[in-house]
């Protein structure tokens, strides 16, 4: 077993590891169905477990829970997670899909939200290799709301194909997507971000923002923001701003004595910190910070 150290003795851990399930959290598990009856914070860890190609996670009415979904694959894998968030439930999901060496992964995250349900999704992507990530949120209940924050620091010549979709299938539903993308080396980040408001779903709000920094001349970031709006009485917006590091910001920091390398590191830290600060668990935040630092340090040191 190679569960990451900071999780191995965690009482809220559910690990799918080398074809074995470790259920420290003592949640109800039947086949590929995970039912969260009580408790507030869970850590789901996957490494080399391919017994199920799908996992179903049920969040009951009025529940308020946080799930940290961490995979650490050493070989190619494909998996789909189905989250059913019942009415008035509140779910926060943090994901970090890691790989020991360059692998290929295909991951789907499907969420269905009932009336007044709330989902906060934090996706961290520092994967080595090639990853296809699809996140689909169906806002099926009135007043359902989702906030999606994604930080992708691409390095090691890796490729990221991300497809995010939010469907507003009920009235007065709200979605807000913020993507923070950094491409180092010749990593490739390709994003399709779609917000769809179905006809009749008035008073809905659908927003998305995509920001990207390319740190190398052969870096590549491509974002296709889409809004498919079939109703008049709604709010919707989208934007994408991708480019090199801001020269004026760099000049300002240099003018206070920071070297180019120090200034770039600080600007990137400023870019990643707001995402990291949203992670409630300090250990998870610390792990992500060090992963990002390694990627960025390698890049700025190479210059």
């Amino acid at each position: 077993m190679e569960i990451v150290k900071y999780l191995v003795n965690n009482p809220n851990l559910i690990a799918f590891d080398n074809q074995e399930i470790i259920n420290n959290a003592k949640i109800f598990i039947k086949n590929n169905h995970l039912l969260f009856r009580s408790g507030k914070e869970f850590f789901i860890f996957l490494d080399n477990y391919d017994k199920y190609s799908e996992l179903n996670l049920d969040i009951k009415e009025n529940q308020n829970i946080k799930i940290y979904l961490i995979t650490y694959q050493s070989r190619n894998f494909k998996i789909k997670y189905n989250f059913n968030v019942s009415s008035n439930a509140k779910l926060e999901v943090f994901t970090n899909f890691l790989s020991k060496r360059k692998t290929t992964a295909s991951i789907a995250l499907d969420f269905t939200l009932g009336e007044n349900a709330y989902l906060k999704l934090l996706n961290a992507l520092t994967f080595k290799g090639r990853i296809e990530l699809s996140s689909l949120v169906n806002l099926n209940g009135k007043n359902a709301k989702t906030e999606i924050e994604l930080l992708n620091v691409g390095g090691n010549d890796s490729e990221y194909f991300v497809n995010q979709t939010v469907n507003h299938n009920e009235i007065a539903t709200l979605s807000d997507i913020n993507n923070w993308l950094i491409s180092t080396d010749n990593s490739k980040l390709k994003y399709t971000v779609t917000g769809k408001i179905v006809k009749g779903m008035e008073h809905s709000k659908c927003h998305q923002s995509n920001k990207g920094i390319m740190l190398a001349s052969d870096s590549e970031i491509m974002v296709e923001p889409k809004l498919l709006i079939d109703e008049y009485d709604v709010e919707a917006s989208h934007g994408a701003a991708i480019g090199q590091m801001d020269e004026l910001q760099l000049y300002y920091l240099l003018s206070r004595g920071l070297s180019v390398q120090e200034a770039k590191s600080l600007i990137i830290t400023g870019y990643t910190n707001p995402f990291i600060n949203m992670i409630n668990n300090q250990e998870v935040a610390k792990q992500l910070t060090s992963q990002i630092s390694r990627l960025i340090r390698r890049k700025t040191n190479n210059e």
Binding site: E247, L254, S255, G257, A263, T269, G270, Y271
Partner: protein
């Protein structure tokens, strides 16, 4: 301790801005540079700091006799130059505290360690002196700051970094009367034989609080007149036209222009 600018010609995008500028500032002196819009006052500050958009066509900038024109921006800063900018840049996600700490650390020797307790006390004192309010340390650098807060934050950095020569580029713009007095008092407190100040301003009001030793008038990319306090009063009352008239300077802004041509029938 001297900063000397010698016969400096500077351009940006093929437009010549500074046209043979000469200036010498000694440690402990305060120089005010005044002049109409577009005469190159900010260009002078930016080129001394090493802004990459400006190009030195000829001339030299000497710090204690050593040319700095080949030095990078950060090297110039660590050598003791400081520029309080007219439009301080916002850097989202980077806290004021982390930024100032990093800037202070760049000035330390490799085997020297920052005494964090002492640093925090100094930061808080500077923040209180400038009435920046609680929480400044954790606010993102200049993001969401009012115009006045941005200017006060520049002075806070100056106090923390102890430069040898500081350019204050229109530090008075965006400040109300009380804030102007506060900034003026804080800058005046910093005056010492180890600091040369170059104030760039349009108005007398800043110079009521930071009294200059020399006043220079800059027109068309060079200093055309130097005097003392009486010059400020004269400018405040009569503007710059009398200078141009006295010195016989053609105003390049008043070029004849065409409204277009009318077709004529023959």
């Amino acid at each position: 301790m001297t900063l000397e600018i010698k016969d400096l010609y500077v351009s940006i995008e093929d437009n010549l801005i500074l046209k043979g500028l000469n200036l010498k500032v000694n440690g402990g002196e305060t120089h005010a540079i005044m002049g109409p819009n577009g005469t190159g006052k900010s260009t002078l500050a930016q080129i001394c700091m090493g802004h990459p958009s400006y190009k030195i066509e000829s001339g030299d900038i000497l710090l204690d006799g050593e040319s700095i024109v080949e030095k990078t921006v950060d090297e110039r800063s660590r050598m003791g130059l400081f520029l309080a900018m007219q439009n301080p840049i916002e850097v989202p996600g980077v806290t004021n505290f982390d930024f100032v700490k990093a800037a202070v650390q760049t000035r330390m020797a490799k085997d020297e360690h920052l005494r964090i307790g002492r640093f925090i006390l100094k930061f808080e004192k500077a923040s209180q002196d400038l009435k920046m309010g609680q929480g400044l340390a954790h606010r993102f650098l200049n993001q969401g700051f009012s115009g006045g807060e941005k200017k006060r934050n520049e002075i806070l950095q100056m106090k923390m970094l102890n430069p040898r020569f500081a350019f204050l580029d229109e530090i008075d713009s965006g400040l109300d009367v009380d804030a102007l007095k506060l900034v003026g008092e804080n800058v005046t407190e910093q005056k010492s034989p180890n600091l040369g100040l170059i104030l760039i301003t349009h108005y007398q009001r800043l110079l009521d609080y930071i009294v200059p030793d020399f006043v220079h008038i800059m027109i068309n990319g060079k200093i055309v007149m130097t005097g003392k306090e009486e010059l400020i009063k004269h400018i405040d009352q009569e503007g710059y036209d009398w200078v141009k008239k006295d010195l016989g300077i053609d105003d390049e802004d008043k070029k004849p222009y065409s409204l277009g041509t009318c077709p004529s029938k023959h």
